[in-house]
Symmetry: none
Subunit: 221 residues, 2 copies
DNA sequence: GTGGTTGAGTTCATTGTGGTCACAGGCGGA
DNA sequence: TCCGCCTGTGACCACAATGAACTCAACCAC
């Protein structure tokens, strides 16, 4: 369970956020705070893994609060949830290493997608990095979210491919998936690779046959 | 011109980095520092845009220095350049919002690519974000992910081989590793020799058996 | 020493998939 | 209708892994 502290000056909003977070599998809210001072105190007491932080607080600006939070608990992660649209706010948040920056207003699905991405990234950090490629993987994966597909991919085809992947008993190669869906191998591969890059699909190599090894894709539960 | 401060405890290394940075268009080194204290002082004096930071400094650990640097100049960006491969170091750096994390040793092209990406990202931040999509664009770094492996080797197989090596209680021969991973002896040896050449694996010879001596590989902690 | 045996290192042609490219067909706006 | 953009495709290399064949270094019997 990932422990979450919700910080928002508006009592009702904090309550809504709490409800949202509790509905996401693997997350639980351990406390809420309405001011910067309360947040610092709650952090010391509850030691959460993640703080949902609104930037507009009565006693301190959210970005300035982050340093104080980190002073108490250096390894705490921050997810900013705010209506602040100034470029400086976003830049400053990124510079402080927030895991995400979600604009109000937002729906439950928006928050869930961000939380899931955070959980996935959190779990996928290797114990030790060996190559620059490992490091890049840790740095990079704040990719485009599921909502928006990159140019060249359509939602309809994406749905077909995911359906085929889920229906497969174990895993599929690009060619097999292409045949099942009824599209070309090139297109199937494009979608499958995209899902793999997103972390929604897992890729494994099958060796043993002569020739280049085959990439086999599995849907991630 | 993006002003850069180079921080490295080794005078010669700092000089080399300085030379690298000065060769990249749009960047200029405004100073170098060899200790944490020097870095803080130089920051206050020179107000650079970016700090190239080694984590191993004589007076302070680099990650702890970042907070001190930010206290002097909150909007300074950090690019970590270090040999530190511990997961905690990478995680901690990401949590503090470093713009990149480059493993030593590296070549000029490696650094140039990272600096260019930084410059591009820096220039492309809009004055004001209007939608969540804008925010996501700022959060999501470029998908460069250049494969640092030489031709003939794939990332997936490399991961499998390293995993097998790490899981081994003491050490592995090429044939044993091949069987564990499920690839051929030839392929296993190719990867193992690559890791040995990189210094990530150590190789020892086992005599005593009839036949040619056996090369046994150990993962380097 | 010397030559034979042994098992691992090394080379290389083969192979079937991976990945890329320019184009086709379709849709929508001018 | 023409034009431009988007999505999917056939065709064409590039490529990673393979296994057979070869080379090599240590051991062993003489």
């Amino acid at each position: 369970m990932i422990k979450v502290l919700v910080v928002d000056d508006d009592f009702m909003v904090a309550r809504i956020h709490r409800g949202f977070v509790d509905r996401v599998d693997g997350f639980e809210v351990v406390g809420t705070a309405n001011t910067g001072d309360q947040a610092v105190a709650a952090l010391g007491e509850l030691s959460p893994d993640l703080v949902l932080l609104d930037l507009y607080l009565p006693d301190i600006f959210g970005l300035d609060l982050i340093a104080r939070l980190r002073a108490v608990q250096p390894d705490v992660d921050i997810l900013v949830i705010t209506a602040a649209r100034e470029a400086d706010a976003v830049r400053g948040a990124v510079r402080q290493g927030v895991v995400n920056y979600l604009l109000k207003p937002f729906g439950f699905e928006d928050l869930r997608a961000r939380l899931r991405e955070y959980a996935r990234r959190r779990a996928s950090v290797p114990d030790q990095v060996t190559s620059q490629a490992d490091v890049d993987r840790v740095l990079a994966p704040a990719r485009q979210l599921v909502n928006r597909l990159p140019k060249g991919l359509s939602q309809e085809t994406a749905d077909l491919v995911t359906a085929a992947l889920r229906a497969a008993p174990d895993n599929l190669s690009a060619a097999e998936c292409a045949e099942k869906v009824g599209i070309s191998r090139v297109s199937a591969r494009r979608y499958l690779e995209f899902f793999a890059a997103q972390g929604q699909a897992e890729v494994s190599l099958r060796y043993g046959t002569t020739g280049r090894p085959e990439r086999r894709y599995t849907w991630r539960t």
